[in-house]
């Protein structure tokens, strides 16, 4: 089994694979975004159309789930970048896995529960912030006791389950995709010499294609659920 390359810095543990993957993908996103938005005109050109389509797509996710127009404006950028970031990180492991010895250096950062939990935490903290901004601290806590007061503990537990389901769904999907891809490539292909290797190639191709699809769906689901949680916090039940 491959192992994460973990080092300790200022008392905190860091995993190099996640850092490299996320930084790489952030750079790619930035490059793509700048490339697509080099010439922004009133009559859109082709590149601008792509960017506007993406922006429309994430904006629609926001508008469908958040009814507060003030929050919509702030969340538009967040949803856009979050969607791109998670999508790119989901795809990274499909075409690039770099292993040195026993240690993983490049793989999908989202195939790691710590990564997905980080983003889930970010989203939930954001939803708390929006809720408190909208209703004030007292009103925010009172919303947990809605519609009836004995639901308070259940609503509290829901926050935890939201966090877990949001993060583990993404992790599970991407991790499973990578495991199966690794299995096909490392175990199935060399098992019976050249015949299985030939047979494994289309299988790997199909699974890769399917994983691209899964990665897109999961990025969409992650952003959608994030917006659902934020939307729930800014609307009175």
């Amino acid at each position: 089994m491959e192992q994460p390359f973990v080092f300790n810095f200022l008392g905190l543990n860091f995993d190099l694979a996640g850092m490299i993957g996320s930084t790489l993908m952030a750079a790619v996103i930035l490059f793509v975004c700048i490339w697509l938005s080099r010439k922004v005109e009133m009559k859109p050109n082709k590149k601008q159309n792509v960017l506007e389509y993406l922006l429309d797509f994430t904006d629609n996710i926001v508008k469908d789930n958040v009814s507060d127009p003030d929050a919509q404006k702030h969340l538009s950028l967040y949803a856009f970048v979050l969607f791109l970031f998670i999508w790119f990180m989901n795809q990274l492991g499909l075409f690039m896995e770099i292993k040195v010895g026993d240690f993983m250096f490049v793989k999908s950062p989202t195939a790691d529960p710590v990564t997905t939990m980080s983003f889930a935490m970010m989203t939930l903290l954001l939803s708390f912030t929006f809720g408190i901004q909208k209703f004030g601290t007292g009103g925010y806590w009172r919303n947990y006791a809605e519609p009836v007061s004995f639901l308070f503990p259940i609503n509290m537990i829901e926050e935890v389950t939201n966090f877990l389901t949001l993060s583990l769904r993404l992790y599970g999907n991407i991790y499973a995709g990578e495991v199966l891809l690794t299995l096909i490539g490392n175990r199935l292909a060399p098992s019976f010499g050249i015949t299985t290797m030939v047979l494994a190639a289309p299988l790997a191709m199909i699974w890769q294609g399917f994983s691209v699809f899964i990665g897109s769906i999961q990025a969409y689901v992650f952003v959608t659920l994030s917006m659902v949680y934020v939307g729930k916090k800014v609307t009175k039940e």
């Binding site: 192992q3 995993d15 996320s22 975004c33 950028l77």
Partner: protein
Amino acid sequence: MTFQTLFAASANHIYIGNTLWYLIVFVILLLLVKHYAWGPVSDMMEKRRQKVINDLDVAADNRKKAEVLANEREAALKNSRQEATQIISEAKVSAQKTSSQIVADANKNATSIHEKAKADAAQAKADALDEARSQVADLSVAIAEKVIAKNLSATDQKDLVDQFIKGLNK
């Protein structure tokens, strides 16, 4: 600087530092994307939205204006048609009047001319008769004179005078 590399023999490390790293990377990415792509593009989309709204408003306004103009034109056309009809009918009426007047005048004239001609003819007849009568008298006198001068003998003259005197006596 306490930089230690831990080659993880057991994978039991929870690398909480990654969370921090993701947060930092994400925030930096957020700001850069906002500055380079999201900001200008969404600005432009908003501007385009405003422009479309504006254009639609202007188009609606123009259409309304055109409608008003067309209505006005139609009303004016109708009005002028009505006026023309009125003018024609007026002209017809006045022409009728004039023509009947002319006919009446002509009739009257003709009648008066006829009357006058009749009167003149009567007058001329009377004059001619008078003249003829006086001429006949003169002629008869002259003839009588001539007859008398030629054939009148003394006895005849005496008879005549007698007759005359007899006549006077009667």
